[in-house]
């Protein structure tokens, strides 16, 4: 599965792999984020498009061995905008939850952690989602696993997986599903960046997945600092942080460390190239 990935790299080396990306480092070998990113990029390459959150859904269905997946992006407060489904059952499940406001996806968005409903026929599911659980079973789902696409207070959306048979995700599948969700989060934030239509941001951080699990306290702290420096919300602050790192060819963790140490300061200027060293 790694070969389509490397094929894509050969086509767009600058875009996919800025200097210092973890994909170049030792963590590539046996690294779960690297492997998952390879699956997603391979999926994009096989359909001949650029990597998008939709590719995460498709790749996750195969890798996590589920029957289908859906992904909805957060858009302000309108409760979620359906982005991508892999099959009709997924579409029905996603729409049911949007309509009813009940189910694993809304719960995952509300609590900020995954909701793992491994048997929609059990008492707990029936008590928790009295309308949705029977409807979902009727639609053909026996288990649903919903993953909020969040980085702290940043809300990018929710990813749902369903299985036609009941049973929990194995530890390996759960780890993969969480990493697919991390990847989808970054890709959705990248697409918001592009949708904002800021030409200075160019292609955005190019969809390269920063390693979200290590070295990140400083990234989170720097993001919080930028909300004040730039006078923006937390999501915009993170997008600006990544765009700045990309534009200046810097590792996100290194830039974050400089911001926390107050060696670098960003300014509320729409053109990131005007931001400078403090």
């Amino acid at each position: 599965m790694a070969w389509p990935f490397f094929g894509l790299l050969a086509m767009q080396p600058g875009r996919i792999l800025p200097r210092g990306s973890f994909l170049l480092g030792a963590r590539m070998t046996g690294s779960r984020p690297g492997r998952i990113w390879g699956l997603v990029a391979g999926q994009a390459a096989s359909r001949g498009g650029r990597v998008s959150a939709a590719d995460v859904c498709t790749a996750a269905v195969t890798a996590v061995e589920v029957s289908g997946a859906w992904l909805s992006a957060a858009r302000g407060t309108d409760g979620g905008h359906l982005m991508r489904v892999t099959d009709e059952v997924s579409e029905e499940l996603a729409e049911l939850q949007l309509t009813l406001g009940e189910g694993p996806s809304p719960d995952a968005c509300a609590c900020g952690g995954p909701v793992l409903a491994s048997n929609l026929g059990d008492m707990e599911a029936g008590r928790r989602w009295p309308v949705f659980a029977p409807a979902a079973r009727q639609a053909g789902a026996a288990a649903i696993f919903a993953f909020p696409l969040r980085i702290g207070a940043i809300r990018a959306g929710v990813m749902g997986l369903y299985r036609a048979r009941p049973g929990p995700l194995s530890a390996a599948h759960l780890g993969d599903a969480l990493t697919f969700a991390d990847t989808a989060t970054l890709l959705l934030l990248d697409s918001q960046d592009r949708a904002a239509g800021d030409p200075a941001a160019g292609p955005g951080p190019g969809g390269q997945p920063a390693d979200l699990t290590l070295h990140r306290a400083e990234i989170d702290q720097a993001t919080g600092m930028l909300t004040e420096q730039l006078g923006v919300g937390i999501t915009e602050a993170f997008i600006r942080l990544r765009a700045y790192a990309y534009a200046h060819d810097r590792r996100l963790a290194d830039l974050a460390r400089d911001i926390v140490a107050r060696r670098v300061r960003l300014h509320p200027d729409p053109d990131p190239s005007h931001d400078g060293i403090a």
Binding site: G113, G152, D220
Partner: protein, 261 residues
């Protein structure tokens, strides 16, 4: 050793069947009680994330939490060795451990610690994490303290795994992920507050934590509201002076838990 606190702690660490069980509060009880019961200055705890990464989930002080993070970032230290081997790891004199942990040992000394003991959180062949006990003065932890520390870690491990099988098989993973995300929100809030008031991250954390305690709110809820802008943290007390990495707790007390000290 405080015998009554010890018995109360064992009860606390088996009490996972309560309706509002919170895995992070539970693990904070383990780190805080370790500091209160054992001859140690601080305690930190790493737990394996389902993604396969170790994560810092609890610490008795910010200094201990940062040191745990440092071990992860530098991929080196007693907690990692302990987790990988599933065996206790100790150093009674970190000044002499520079060869063993060239990055961790100096960092620990700089944080004010002279000795360390790491204990595995292990049930049979399953290792789910490790508990790090830091001492401000050099010297090995007394054997009796090592035994009690390991017993606390064992009871907590069994409770968590029991929790996983008895309630919903997925509850622990759901809660752990929620808690890890809460930790990220707190870091974001620290950054925002530090920038707004010109503080360093430790001062910002102390201020946030005290504000939450004084208003009896969960730190993660307050941090979320502050980052979202629905909480302005008006009437904040003046910035607290920096505290030594000693017996300060790094979290909200668990509801219903006995008062500390």
């Amino acid at each position: 050793m405080d015998g009554q606190l010890l018995s109360e702690t064992f009860v606390e660490l088996t009490d996972t069947m309560v309706a509002d069980f919170d895995v992070i509060d539970f693990l904070h009880v383990l780190t805080d009680r370790s500091v209160q019961l054992l001859e140690v200055s601080a305690a930190g705890l790493l737990l394996a994330d389902p993604r396969g990464e170790l994560r810092v989930v609890a610490a008795s002080s910010e200094a201990a939490r940062l040191l745990e993070l440092f071990q992860l970032q530098s991929d080196q230290g007693p907690c990692l060795d302990c987790f990988r081997a599933g065996q206790p790891v100790d150093s009674g004199d970190l000044a002499a451990a520079a060869q063993r942990w060239p990055r961790f040992a100096p960092a620990a000394q700089q944080a004010g610690f002279a000795a360390v003991q790491a204990l595995p959180m292990r049930l049979r062949d399953q290792v789910i994490g490790a508990l790090n006990l830091f001492r401000a003065s050099p010297g090995a932890l007394p054997p009796a303290d090592v035994r009690v520390g390991q017993a606390l870690a064992d009871v907590a491990t069994i409770s968590l795994l029991h929790e996983r099988s008895m309630r919903h098989s997925d509850t622990l993973n759901e809660q752990l992920q929620t808690a890890l995300n809460s930790r990220v929100i707190i870091e974001q809030a620290k950054g925002k507050l530090a920038e707004r008031l010109g503080l360093d991250m430790d001062q910002a954390f102390t201020l946030l934590r005290d504000f939450a305690r004084n208003r009896n709110r969960r730190l993660s809820d307050l941090a979320q509201a502050f980052v979202d802008g629905s909480e302005t943290l008006t009437s904040l007390p003046p910035a607290a002076p920096q505290q030594r990495p000693s017996r300060q707790a790094g979290h909200q007390p668990r509801p219903g838990s006995p008062p500390k000290q």
